[in-house]
Each structure stands twice: as structure tokens, then as C-alpha cells.
Subunit: 473 residues, 2 copies
Amino acid sequence: MGEAQAACQGRPASEALAAVIAALSAQFGNRLVTSQAVREQHGHTLTWVPNQPPDAVVFPQSTEEVASIVRLCAAHVVPVIPFGTGTSLEGHVNAPFGGICVDTSLMKAVVEVHPEDLSVTVEPGLTRKALNEYLRDMGLFFPIDPGADASIGGMVSTRASGTNAVRYGTMKDNVLSLSVVTPQGEVIKTARRAKKSSTGYDLTRLYTGAEGTLGIITGITLKLSGIPEAVSAGICPFPSVRAACDAVIMTIQSGLPVARIELLDALTVRACNNHAKLGLPETPLLLVEFHGTDAGVKEQAERFGEIAAEFAGGPFEWATKLEDRTKLWQARHDVYWAQLTLRPGSTPISTDVCVPISRLADCVEETARDAEEHHILAPIVGHVGDGNFHCGVLLDMNDPDEVAAAREFCERMVLRALDMDGTCSGEHGVGQGKMKYLLQEHGAATLHIMAQIKKALDPLNIMNPGKVVAWET
Amino acid sequence: MGEAQAACQGRPASEALAAVIAALSAQFGNRLVTSQAVREQHGHTLTWVPNQPPDAVVFPQSTEEVASIVRLCAAHVVPVIPFGTGTSLEGHVNAPFGGICVDTSLMKAVVEVHPEDLSVTVEPGLTRKALNEYLRDMGLFFPIDPGADASIGGMVSTRASGTNAVRYGTMKDNVLSLSVVTPQGEVIKTARRAKKSSTGYDLTRLYTGAEGTLGIITGITLKLSGIPEAVSAGICPFPSVRAACDAVIMTIQSGLPVARIELLDALTVRACNNHAKLGLPETPLLLVEFHGTDAGVKEQAERFGEIAAEFAGGPFEWATKLEDRTKLWQARHDVYWAQLTLRPGSTPISTDVCVPISRLADCVEETARDAEEHHILAPIVGHVGDGNFHCGVLLDMNDPDEVAAAREFCERMVLRALDMDGTCSGEHGVGQGKMKYLLQEHGAATLHIMAQIKKALDPLNIMNPGKVVAWET
């Protein structure tokens, strides 16, 4: 390896791949899997991007094992694709050039908890639900909730957020420090455990959302929150999406520290009624939740009710009882399954955009109108406090015309959001699915800077190649 | 310029410099200044790093002018040093290799406000006080308050924070998007105006805290907050620094959304009494502030009083009247001047560290003991909700023994913080003053990654060279 190696820009030579797989097999035994089923499962993405399985899947148990895998792959210029739970939505874990999938599911330890500091260090394969189980008795929780029971490593890598983000922020706001295996197989730590620092480039945020293209995250120190003393949740119907959005804007503007504020359009409400027999009025609804003291959540709920009434919303019914809240949020969380009741047998393709909140009503209304005009079934739910919403397009994947129409619909949704100074993804990420929009969203010069960073840190292009930024950018 | 130019690693050739100054003089007329007084003022830093003035200071009025300056300097490999208000504390604006200081003070426009989105776009030279003046009538404010009336551009570049950070976060949490002139003189935008996005590398955070070493920030879109309906502030004495810190930990753990929680040690309280005739008890004090509704702040203040009492603190006296609050916070803000009363004629050198909050009492106590043992006058104030505190070392800069002892004291403070998994600067930044600690804080591999990024984005090393990461790293 005396001279500089060429960067990976396609499938590696079969000898290189064979050498890597042989070495991994020797080192990992049955923790190295090459069966077609397992490979396909690891290329699986909940999207219409075709499955591109890796050549092998390896299940490391430590940072040092991950580093040794990466060093081996670097020596042979073989791609490395990090894998958490495979719940990402834009082809993040596909292996367009083949290579080795590093499945972190065996790395799921809670490494250390510091309750006084409200921080915890975990391995990347731990899921958010398992983490919250672990923390519950300490009166602490990790608030980021993207819906799926994703791995913490995957949530960092996709800069996940979800229903609680309006109050608690996204992953970028809740990661204190990362351990990362670099594309050269070195192990680095991005920061100390102090709550803030101004010493050097913010590598923590650089790796957060990099989708595994700059290294593999093998340790995460997270900020935690205290489980609130009181929680109240409620539901409020509105005559229109616009009225609901206006109420959201007013709620945020008045500084009401709402913990969750979710929009369900009439179609989604119908789906929830189908799925969970909720008997909700089939108009646009806001689902809200408040965290605080007993008196605090009561006051917040009352204020919210007043604001809703100003925009012809209501009645606002609120529930402080855990079982009522659970039922409500279960319906929200099950929305993916609920939406399927609108068209049994269809495949839901979930896509998201995010716009400045002042444009949210426009963007949601135009998107709903577009769906109607094109006879596309596309129920909408949104983390509206952040200006972020999702369409779950229900389609027959075997009908090429339907697929083509749905793709065009999703593309129009992205372009609409970009037109409103928004982003092509608020929380799902880029993966393969949205790479083509990055030029329009960021511009050539900004994309070039991202590519310069990629090339500087991963000169062989082995880390999850073919994602986020194109090598030739 | 056919062949690749060598990176700047010292003073540029005098012909290169002369060519740049002549061209700038032709373009900018009297907005290009080379007088010694102005040059020295622009190298001035509130620290013991010696003044290293730039060769000239230019006052651009637009992003395009900044870009043209940078393109010119790039063509001649002449350093470019961005300048806001010069209130940074670690030699950030010094020009060790000479070059052109880009003073952004004429770029102070509010470009656009979006009250519904709680966002504003400003030019970098606008100061935070001027911004808040502008916003007041809209019921909005920008919460980050580092004490000095710093420029927004400088605050972004140093990843500033201050008293409100415990509730509102630091600059990294409050910047939505940046316009940056790259070291090649191109203008890029790091993000759309949506509240969140997961599309590509987080360049917004990369430039935030980069101290001008990766480009010049020429436009900033900030998150704003609603001016709270009610504010209450109070003051609470404690028998010891440890008791005060324990009360802080409990306050944060119980999720009390305190807006500010500041520790003043007994020495600082004495200084404030001297300065503002406050008549406060000369023991460690916590200064706290709550934001919310009338009922909310009352409840918060009561809770805090109960927590304080658990740690032998109190009585907690609180003030909802603006004039009482103003007096209290004025004393906190004037602490730099107040501390001078402890030793008239001395020079205060302010330094900061940040540790996990569980180690705060240890770190503050050991630092105070160290000062006492070495007969150093070093009053302590801290943004203790974040584990961040400042020492203002009062010394006679003409006494080399005193200066040497103070430097050793500051170094021990840094090493103590690093030993506790803390950082060598919570909010002042690296500049020249703290570069030497980055290796120990981050490790060689992490520092190497920072250097790779610097080299990839600024291959000529013209952007604020000699700061943050050394070129040879």
C-alpha cells in the first residue's frame, strides 16, 4: 500500500471483497453473515428505492471491533455501511456499491449514567425505548421520539427528531459527545462531557446527521431530561388546516412551552378512527401535550384552549390521566398502520418536508390539494410546532403508473417546500432518496463544501458511499 | 496563478501585502485604514496575549465587498482577520502574521424579521443590544447574553453563550442559517430558514465557533424568543459554594425552567457591594431569574426557595419589579468593573472553564483554594446551571512575577477542568490563548480531524491563521 489508493467509486474488485470477507469470517465467526436473506434485510429501506444488499453483514461487539473492521475495509477499499435498526426512510442503509454492513445491534450497553449531570453514555445499537426503560426508575428520560423504536446511533446519524422536538429539540441539541471510528479506523471522541464548550470545530454536530458517511458512531453521550411532574394531553378539532396552523403559530409565539403539538388532517383522523375506534370528529385535529408542574400544565392547557378558540378551534378536551393520554398518543404513533386502513393492501411511502412555520398552512393545504387533484391518497401528519410534516402516500407498488404519479407528487412536495425557504427533509434525512434535491436546496457552492469535507475525512470514499453528497460534487 | 500556491505560514511577502493594500485603498478609499492607532485597536484583546496588529483595517458595507476583499487576499496569500467589536478574550482578533482585518461594524442592518417564525436575519456587525432594541416593540427578543455588547457575527464565531444559556441554549442552538464568505471568496448559505433540517452536513454548526478560521460570516438568521409575560428574579445566600452548587443541581434535575442561575462567590459579592452599594451578605450567592406566566414564575420561585432551604440556603428574596431586577442584574453585568474595586489599578484577566455540573462544586472550591494559597485575587462568577464559571484574575501587569503566577494559576484551572471531563473554555473560545490545551482536551486524532477540515476548506491558510488549530497539526 505504498502509493495512494484510488477512491471507491463503484463495486470493489472481487478479490478485495473476498479478502475482506475471509478475514472478517476468521475474526468474527458466526457474527459474519453472508446469507441472502440477512443481506437483503440489511439493504431494506422503507421506501421505493430498490433493495441493494451489502455483500456481508458483521455484528461487532465493541468499538475496537468496529475499528478493526474499518481498518480492514480501508486497506482493501471496500465500502462500510453502518446499520442500526433499519427504520430509516430514504435508502440510508442500501449498499449501491456492495461492501460490508456493520450492524450495531449487539452494541447496546448503557455505558454510564450521570443522573446529577442529566447525561448518559450509550452504545449505538441501544434503542430509544430500551434506554427509556432503563432510565425510568431514575426519574429521567430521553425525550427524542421519532416514532420508530430506532437505535440511538441511527438517530444521531439521521439527525432524528419527532413529536417532542418542539420542546426538547432534535438530536443535534441532545448529543453532548460522540465516539466515532474514522474512515481510517481510528477512534476519536468529539467532546468532553461538559454541557457546553467553545473549543474548536463542532465535530459533534458534524457527525450528527452525516448518515455514516464520515465515520461510524460507536458511543453517544446524550443529554437527559427529568420526567415531568405532570403531563397533560389533549385534542382539539379545527375547521381547517389553516386555522389549526394559525393556532400553532400563536401558541409558539406566546411562548407556551408545549411539549408536543401534532397536526392530523381529516384523512388521517379517519384512518385513526378506523384503526383504533376512536370516534374522533373527522376534521383537522391538533394533538397537544404539556409538561410541567400540576399547576403549570393546567395553566398551559387553559391558555391553549383560549388560543384555539380564537381560531375557531375546539372544544379542546384534555386528559391528564395516563390511560387517556396513552390511547391518544398510541393512535398518533400507530398512524403509519392506521393509514393503511384507508387502502388495505397498499404500500405506504412516508416522506417529509419542513418549512418556516409561517408557510406551513400554505404548504400543507397545497399539498393536500395536489393529492386530491391527482387522485393520490396521501394522509398528512405533522410536527407542526417545527413546521415539519409528513405525507404517507398509499400506493400499489405493482402499478408503474401509480408509482410514477406518486413520485411526481412527492417531488412537487419537495419543490413546494424549497420554494417556501424550507428543506427537502426535516427529519428523515437524505440517504439515496433525496440526494437529487440537495443542489437546489443548498446551491452548488455549499454542496461543494460538504463534498470537500467528505473527501478530506474519507479520501477513499468507503464510508456509506453513494449517500448524502455525490463523490463527483 | 497557474500553479498551486503555498499556504500562508508566516508574514506574507511585503510586495504581496503592498499589492493588496493598494488595491483595497483604490476600492475602499477612506474605508481602508492603516494608521497605527486603528491597527493596534483592532489587534487589541482583553487578555495578556501581546497585541499583534493587522497591516490594515478595511470596513466593508456588504457581503459582496467582503467577498471581493477575500478574493484579493486569496490571490496574494494574505491573511484575513474578521473583526466584530473586539470584546473576545483569548486573542481571537490578533494578527500574528499580519494581514487585513475585516471590521464588520458598518454591516449592522436588520435584513428581515419574520415575527411569525420567531426569526430574524441580520448582518454580522449588529450588536445584540441594538438587535434587542429593534425587536422590543414586536414582543420578541434574542436571548443570548454574553455580558459584553458583542456583535452577532462575533457571537456566532466564538459560540458565545452567557447568563441565559441554561434556558435558551448557546449560539449553536440559536442560529438557523449563516451566509459565509469562503476562503476562496465565494458566498454560501448554510441552510434554509426552516426550523430544522436533516439534509447534509451541519455547516451552520461547523462555522459557529470556528472563530473565523473557515470563512467570514456575513449574514445570520437567528431564532428569537417571545418576551416572557412575567419575569421574576431573586437572590439567595448560601453558607458555601458547595451548598449553592448542590441547590443548582437539584434545581436543574427537578426540571425547573430557570432562565438564569448565576453564582457569585463571597469575593465577588464584596466587589459588587463596593461598586454598587448593594449591602448584600458577603457569602456565596445565587442570582436567579424565572420567565413565564405570572402564576408560573411565582410557582417556580417558590419551588426554588424550597430547594435552596434544603441546602441551608436562604432567605430567598425575589423581586418581580423591573427596577429591582435591573439593579440586581446590573450588578452581575458590571462584575468586571466591580471586581476592579478589590484592587484598584489592577488589570483583570478573565478566563473560563466548564465542567459536568456534578463536578462544579469541586472545581470552584479547588480553584478558590488554589487562588488563596498562591495569594492571587481571583473572584469567581459562574453560569452554574451549565457548569461554567469564570475567574477574573486581578493583577499588576507590570510585575512579571505576578503575571507568571497568574498564568500558572489559570493553567491549573484549565487542567483541573480537563481532569473532571470538562473543557478548557465553556464560552470564551480558543483564539491564541487556549490553543495549547486543545491537544489535551481533544486528543491528537480529533485535533487532526479539525486540521483536515481547516486544510480542506482553507488550503491557503489565510482565514484568521494561527487560531484554533495549528496548521502543522
